[in-house]
């Protein structure tokens, strides 16, 4: 036998063996309800995915410890996407076919939910995304829900607050060119034009570090405030670079900014920043404080918005199991019927399209801490 065919056979054998090995699906355990999770656990977006998974784990541990589901034990199966939606489709399929999960919490990025949604629909597995904001995501898919702030609600609150309370009138917008940023930009542009003036709109790519060219252009147009449609890492850098360029305007943003990392990275530069949010970790209500304590105990750090929304998504699932039943179809009905659910990210209702209705808070960075102003 030539070396070539030898190697070919060895490879084929290894692959077949591995396939066969993994082909044995895990045994059905009685009294276990499986929750799948899909999100980026590696790659550039990993911190979002990891925090989502951690939030789910806290909710699941809590439910298992309290015995609120009777004999039913929850178990989390999580799969990595690396931030790539085509891998997310594999992850969805694997969870559904191999692990036989009953419900999925995910995907984290909008593109992941877009790719996974049809798969979940085909398999009739209810799926609730804790963070995919892309417009119209849940339309025409009765199995896909989400639990995150709608951009319209955030924008409305923020734009009105900026104009009426802060007296601002010349808006500049700087947004990430991804589904999150684009959607915020579109809504903010429309609303701000209605109330005042938009003087500059600039975009940047996911993961950019250098915003000086855009900020230089924005500075030329002489705005009195800068709306950032993006996440905290970029937000902090934008704030910092704006200060380095002597562009000292009021900074506004959405829930993507609400993470302690914004303050850690941005330091003085983000002082005075306003952002809309669904989650305020210093909220004195017991539900929020219990979550923050439990999260800190388990993971050794403060929860962020992703973790909180994932926790609430898991709580909505648990609530659906309690009110409706443990089968996938019953969970779907339960999630769809969610109304005025008291979550740690505010009262949450699911509308007929599977979208969320939630309260919006406005937070401000004061002396290196997020403070609730409204």
């Amino acid at each position: 036998m030539s070396r070539k065919s030898y190697w070919m056979i060895v490879t084929a054998a290894i692959l077949c063996l591995a396939m066969a090995m993994v082909g044995c699906s895990p045994e059905e355990e009685a009294g276990v309800l499986k929750i799948g999770n899909v999100g980026p656990l590696t790659g550039g977006a990993a911190n979002y995915g990891i925090n989502v998974l951690r939030g789910i784990e806290v909710a699941v541990d809590e439910a298992n410890a309290s015995g609120e589901l009777g004999d039913l034990t929850l178990k989390v199966y999580s799969e990595d996407t690396g931030g790539d939606w085509s891998k997310a489709a594999n992850a969805f399929s694997k969870l559904i076919d191999v692990d036989k999960v009953d419900v999925i919490i995910g995907g984290v990025l909008s593109s992941e939910s877009e790719a996974g949604g049809p798969i979940a629909k085909d398999a009739a597995i209810p799926t609730i995304s804790p963070s995919s904001t892309s417009a119209g995501l849940t339309l025409d898919n009765p199995y896909l829900f989400r639990n995150c702030l709608s951009d319209e609600a955030q924008i409305e609150q923020m734009a009105e607050y900026a104009v009426n309370e802060l007296g601002l009138g010349r808006f500049a917008i700087l947004y990430t060119n991804n589904d999150y940023g684009v959607s915020l930009k579109d809504s903010f542009e429309a609303k701000a034009k209605e109330l005042a003036k938009v003087v500059a709109i600039e975009g940047f790519m996911d993961g950019d570090e250098n915003f000086k060219p855009q900020l230089t252009k924005i500075k030329q147009s002489n705005p009195d405030c800068l709306y950032i449609g993006g996440y905290y890492t970029e937000g902090a850098k934008i704030a910092q670079q704006a200060r380095e360029m002597d562009l000292n305007v009021q900074i506004l943003g959405a829930d993507g900014l609400c993470n302690v990392a914004l303050i850690e990275i941005g330091e003085e530069a983000v002082e005075g920043t306003y952002a809309t949010s669904g989650f305020y970790p210093d909220d004195p209500t017991p539900a929020v404080q219990n979550f923050v304590t439990a999260y800190k105990e388990k993971h050794g750090e403060d929860p962020d918005m992703f973790a909180a929304q994932a926790y609430d998504a898991a709580r909505i699932v648990i609530n659906a199991i309690k009110t409706s039943g443990p089968s996938s179809e019953e969970i779907r009905e339960g999630i769809a019927a969610t109304w005025n659910f008291p979550g740690i990210t505010g009262n949450t209702s699911i509308d007929e399209e599977g979208d969320t209705i939630k309260d919006v808070l406005i937070l401000k960075v004061e002396n290196g801490k997020f403070v609730r102003v409204r």
């Binding site: 060119n177 993961g207 000086k212 060219p213 230089t216 252009k217 990275i265 750090e301």
Partner: protein, 290 residues
């Protein structure tokens, strides 16, 4: 505004140039695209960060230590992933390099976690106004240190005995070896120096952009590679020129064309330049041996 944007481009470009130097030096000697170079850059930034925050070492010393450790990692990667493949097809070595890059960035993710770390600013935040542009103290530091490192490298390659041996090896390995040059040693030194520059770039970008993450090496690595090719891969002044030009092209693209199409503008420029100068700006056209 034009001068301000030009300054923005030069500062960004100087970090690309430092990364490009590592690529170009390695390429000049063994014609390998050292894919793991972006990860060395990330490693340098992390080492710098940990030394400054955990061990509380003065910034300048941490900078030098990060360079030293970065070069150690570069040499290790060469020894484990590239040296065994030196006699194989160049593409195999490239795949091995890609594997090494995956391995290092994901290992960093496992160890350090995914949350971005903030790099403390070792300098006081100060802004200098000139009639034409505004520049911050950090920017001056980045610009000056890149310049110093580039001058030091040019001196090293042009004036020292080892530098001479490196140039000889790059030109013709056989003849160099016949002249008594230890090729393996030269390759090791090349990796050490190139990686030290990559790590230095990591620390500088760390203080400039203020964050360090395990995946930070990917895009700058790619850009550094592009800059190296733009200047003529294997050519040291070419890498510096390529880096600066790429930085300026990006900034100008964002400023005057569209910030959305920024990278597309930079890449289109690259392709056009290559069409007119097929071996890069300063590269000499390869001589075909018939």
């Amino acid at each position: 505004m034009f001068v301000q944007q030009l300054m923005n481009g030069v500062i960004l470009g100087s970090t690309y140039a430092l990364i490009a130097l590592g690529y170009t030096m390695v390429y000049g000697i063994i014609e390998l695209i050292n894919f793991a170079h972006g990860e060395i850059y990330m490693f340098g930034a992390f080492v710098g960060l940990l030394l400054v925050t955990v061990l509380d070492i003065p910034f300048f010393l941490a900078f030098l230590l990060a360079m030293a450790l970065g070069s150690l990692l570069g040499v290790t990667v060469e020894y484990l992933a590239y040296r065994p493949l030196r006699r194989s097809s160049r593409l195999s070595a490239l795949i091995s390099a890609i594997g090494a890059s995956f391995f290092l960035s994901n290992l960093a993710l496992l160890i350090m976690g995914s949350q971005p770390f903030s790099f403390p600013n070792p300098f006081e935040a100060k802004i200098y106004h000139t009639p034409l542009f505004i520049i911050s103290r950090v920017e001056i530091t980045v610009l000056l240190s890149s310049l110093i490192l580039m001058i030091a490298l040019t001196f090293f390659v042009q004036r020292t005995k080892i530098g001479k041996a490196m140039r000889a090896t790059a030109q013709d390995k056989d003849t160099a070896s016949l002249m008594g040059i230890n090729i393996d040693r030269i390759i090791t030194i090349t990796f050490a120096v190139g990686s030290a520059l990559g790590a230095a770039a990591g620390v500088m970008v760390g203080i400039y952009f203020r964050t360090v993450t395990p995946t930070m090496g990917f895009m700058p690595g790619l850009k550094g590679f592009v800059a190296a090719v733009l200047g003529g891969i294997g050519n040291i002044p070419g890498a510096m020129l390529g880096g600066i030009l790429l930085g300026i092209a990006e900034v100008m693209g964002a400023a005057y064309i569209s910030s959305q199409y920024r990278d597309a503008v930079a890449f289109a420029l690259l392709i056009i330049i290559l069409l007119f100068k097929p071996a890069g700006l300063l590269g000499r056209p390869a001589q075909e041996k018939v």
